[in-house]
Amino acid sequence: MRDLKRMVRRMKTNRAGLRLSMVPYSLWILLFVIAPIGLIVYYSFFDLSGNFTFDNYKNFFTSVYLKLTVSSFWYAFLITFFSLLISYPTAYFLTKLKHKQLWLLLIIIPSWINLLLKTYAFIGLMGLYGPVNALLETVGIGKQQILFTDFSFVFVSVYIFIPFMILPIFNALDKLNPALIDASRDLGANAWTTFRRVIWPLTLNGVKSGIQVVFIPALSLFMITRLIAGNKVITLGTAIEQQFLVTQNWGMGSTIAVFLILFMVVILLLTTANERGMAGSGKKR
């Protein structure tokens, strides 16, 4: 009897709780996820003068835009890769510190300084008369053109994304039960095996959310391409911005956006499928 009461009560609780909290969130999904995507798709079928057309799609399959797509992905990959390479050990070492939450805060603080300010600082730092070149000269390498190269573009982008990569990895590592590592060491695994077989799989979800938070924004870095790469690197983001705000060709801009969304959906499907599989096997065990 009591169980039954409890069950009824719990069902009521859940339903009432759901109804209340569902409204704003569902509204948000409708207005800011579904509607905008629908509009983008809709606009991609119109040319500059507002006539229905498929020309935008034909245009996209010319070599110009395909090349753009490939190079966009390549740069985003490089940026994500180096962010991860630097962030994982940083997050790992941070969890070993005494006041780890404080140190984590200190990692996040720079990301509170405006992105444009930091970019501007890099223009000065990497400039021909900046401190980096002064250092290179005293070492004996001599002045180098650092700004407006692929290196500067990737470096500054990685710099900007590092805190966003560190945070989820740090959280995943922090949750990790240290007894598991002790157990692995007791069972004779060396440091590398412990990392590969215990630490890495258990923090993979953190890494994945880190990659998601870095990879996709990296495709749309149109401001840094302008200021740091000197328009040498053109990403899909730059192209969309140009179509929307410079040429005012919303149709073509939307078409590029449609393809970008398609790429996103594919990536998303791939990563979530993996995650679900992992969670399932974890539970079964």
Partner: protein, 266 residues
């Protein structure tokens, strides 16, 4: 780990050095009387005085902060509700659909968010300015909050709620005394990330802002073409000191009060 005790320290020092180098570089030259960022002439406070005389700049800074705080607060509220909705959803297909919707906006590049919101606001007739910028910031922050809160909900054992129900807790009490305290770290992480995203955002704001309204990023971007004055350096120095002070102050305050609070809760 004990064997290579030095390596982590060296590595972390290097990371922190690089992270803070641009900021300290900006601040260093904010004291330069020379007027450029290449030759340090002599020490001066004049650029800091200039910040407080520049009314337009102060308004822009206030705009940025107000948009960030409001959007972070509202998106945290909606995001927490969203996470709870998703977590307790019985219908699996619906649940996965909602999760994917959530992820779509989170992984959408800024440019797409900006462009599609621009179309949306133009069609609906929302004037480009404060309202459109705030709405967009709320919109793109919500999925981040959901992502930060959901793992905490999954971590929570359902027996906690059963126990609360058995002990006679009402729906409200379960929410405020069991669920919310448990997922608090996730909520805070979500709030701070939302704040960070808003303060950092340039691309979306750039698309949906009108002529009359500007945030710091957009303003600096337009300045970068004509040349940035050292007033901006001074401003970034001030922002840095204030935010670092606030964050560290908050950290130490909460840390000090943590121990007695924990004792009481038990």
């Amino acid at each position: 780990m004990e064997r290579n005790g030095k390596l982590p320290k060296i590595y972390l020092t290097a990371v922190f050095l690089v992270l803070y180098a641009p900021i300290f570089y900006l601040i260093f030259y904010s004291f330069n009387s020379g007027g450029t960022m290449s030759h340090f002439e002599s020490f001066t406070w004049e650029h800091y005085a200039a910040v407080f005389e520049d009314k337009r700049l102060i308004i822009i800074v206030l705009n940025t902060v107000v948009v960030a705080l409001l959007s972070a607060l509202i998106s945290t509220a909606i995001g927490v509700m969203g996470a709870i909705t998703i977590h307790y959803m019985k219908n699996k297909a619906m649940r996965n659909a909602m999760l994917s919707m959530n992820s779509i906006l989170m992984v959408s590049p800024d440019v797409i968010i900006g462009a599609s919101f621009l179309i949306l606001f133009t069609l609906v007739g929302i004037k480009l300015g404060f309202a459109s910028v705030l709405l967009s910031h709320i919109a793109f922050s919500i999925p981040i909050v959901v992502i930060m809160v959901l793992p905490k909900l999954q971590e929570m054992s359902p027996t906690l709620i059963d126990a609360a129900l058995d002990l006679g807790a009402t729906r409200k009490e379960i929410m405020s005394r069991v669920i919310l305290p448990f997922i608090k770290p996730g909520i805070f992480a979500g709030f701070f990330l939302a704040l960070t995203y808003s303060l950092d955002d340039f691309a979306v704001t750039f698309f949906v802002t009108g002529n009359g309204f500007s945030t710091l990023s957009v303003e600096i971007y337009s300045m970068a073409r004509t040349g940035v004055t050292l007033t901006i350096n001074a401003l970034s120095g001030l922002i840095f000191v204030i935010t670092a002070g606030l964050i560290l102050g908050y950290y130490f305050l909460t840390n000090r009060s943590k121990t007695p609070a924990r004792g009481l809760k038990r």
